[in-house]
Amino acid sequence: MLEADNLECVRGERRLFAGLDFKLEGGELLNLQGRNGAGKTSLLRMLIGLLPPEAGEIRWKGKSIKAQGDDYRADLCYLGHLNAIKEELTPLENLLAAAHLADEALSEDDAIDALEQVGLAGREDLACKYLSQGQKRRVALARLVKEKRPLWILDEPFVALDVAAVDWLAGIISGHLQRGGMAVMTTHQQVNIPAGTVRELRLG
């Protein structure tokens, strides 16, 4: 479904990787490994279409993602290492605004339910600037709870989370894979994803 064909990445004067191929089917998770600076984030940014590859092509459902544009982005959920939440807004408003902008139907009850699941019950109406780092991360992750888009691209999703939250997130990703979804992620932690097929790709 998601195919990368002979990808090459050059940042500045350095070639980070070349001739990279992989294929990802429904229910599979691709775990990117590699030292710092190996090009993991660059590869993720290529997969979401923000960074054009130096050479090669990325295909989604058999067609180049560049040609698909909006249609591809409608299937894609990206979680970067920045939380993409607004400090002035409350967690609830952040979640609803993000869904609204991504053209997804998310009811207020669903959003409150998602926030409860990430352990932010009672803080739905507190501006995000009063939350701790880990709590802000949880607001960002709450998006995944009701997320139905088939392809998830997650950049270091486990950073700043406590042990319980890591297990919870692993569960959410498993659920996504069980529904036939796909995910690509980077992590430096050892995380056990109970369901789906986990494939590893080492860069550098």
Binding site: R45, I48, G49, L50, L51, P52, D70, D71, R73, A74, L76, Y78, G80, H81, L82, N83, A84, I85, K86, E87, E88, L89, E93, A97, A98, H100, L101, A102, D103, A127
Partner: protein, 222 residues
């Protein structure tokens, strides 16, 4: 198409309401700069009437400039700009929403307060009406052109100064026709011609600027 634009406007207005200090400080800047001129020049009604259009317009340009560096910078810093770029819509529409929201919180308040400031310059009521109309018509062009500059200087250190250098020269047509409309009214020629040109500038920049900004933002996000 309209849905994404209204969604972005709604979000940006909500954020602006949580940060009212930004809107109020740009307004106060406008009021103070404009008020300094009558105080500095002294009570000579003829001279003041002559200066009024230019002073009000230059102050409006500078007040609009104040809020421009943050147009995309906040979204860039917290990662929401990436999410906006990944929304299943053309980025140009998202930027159109942001430009309209910027105008609603920067241009519109200036237009509303300008007639009050015009009184300090002894402008006739007719000239005050044209002044308000000209600022209403011209400020959307300022937000649009400004968005290109803000997108081009996104992520640069000291981008604020560069932004003014890039954008202020492009504001000159708006300044000329905006001030010209009031001048023409004061001298009895009628400002309709200038106002139509201002409207043309606004429509052209609202149609073109968001797409140019979107192209610049994509480069900044690479």
């Amino acid at each position: 198409m309209l849905k994404i634009i209204t969604a972005v406007i709604g979000r940006d207005l909500k954020l602006a309401m949580r940060r009212q200090a930004d809107i109020v400080s740009a307004m106060f800047f406008f009021v103070i700069v404009v008020s300094l001129f009558p105080l500095g020049i002294g009570p000579e009604p003829d001279l003041l009437r002559k200066l009024a259009p230019g002073v009000l317009w230059v102050a409006a340009l500078l007040a609009t400039m104040l809020s421009l560096p943050r147009l995309f910078a906040d979204d860039h810093r917290d990662g929401t700009l990436e999410q906006l770029a990944l929304a299943p819509h053309p980025l140009g529409l998202v930027v159109t929403g942001k430009v309209i929201a910027h105008w609603l919180v920067s241009g519109l308040p200036l237009a509303l307060i300008a007639p009050v400031l015009g009184i300090q310059f002894d402008l006739s009521s007719e000239a005050l009406v044209v002044l308000t109309g000209a600022i209403l018509l011209g400020t959307p062009a300022l937000s649009g052109i400004g968005a290109i500059g803000a997108a081009l200087t996104l992520g640069l250190r000291g981008g604020g100064v560069l932004l003014s250098l890039l954008v202020l020269p492009l504001y000159i047509p708006v300044l000329i026709f905006g001030a010209g409309a009031v001048d023409a009214t004061v001298s009895g020629l009628g400002g309709e011609g200038h106002l139509s040109l201002l409207a043309a500038l606004t429509f052209a920049s609202l149609g073109f600027a968001p797409w140019a900004s979107a192209a610049a933002l994509k480069i900044a996000l690479e």
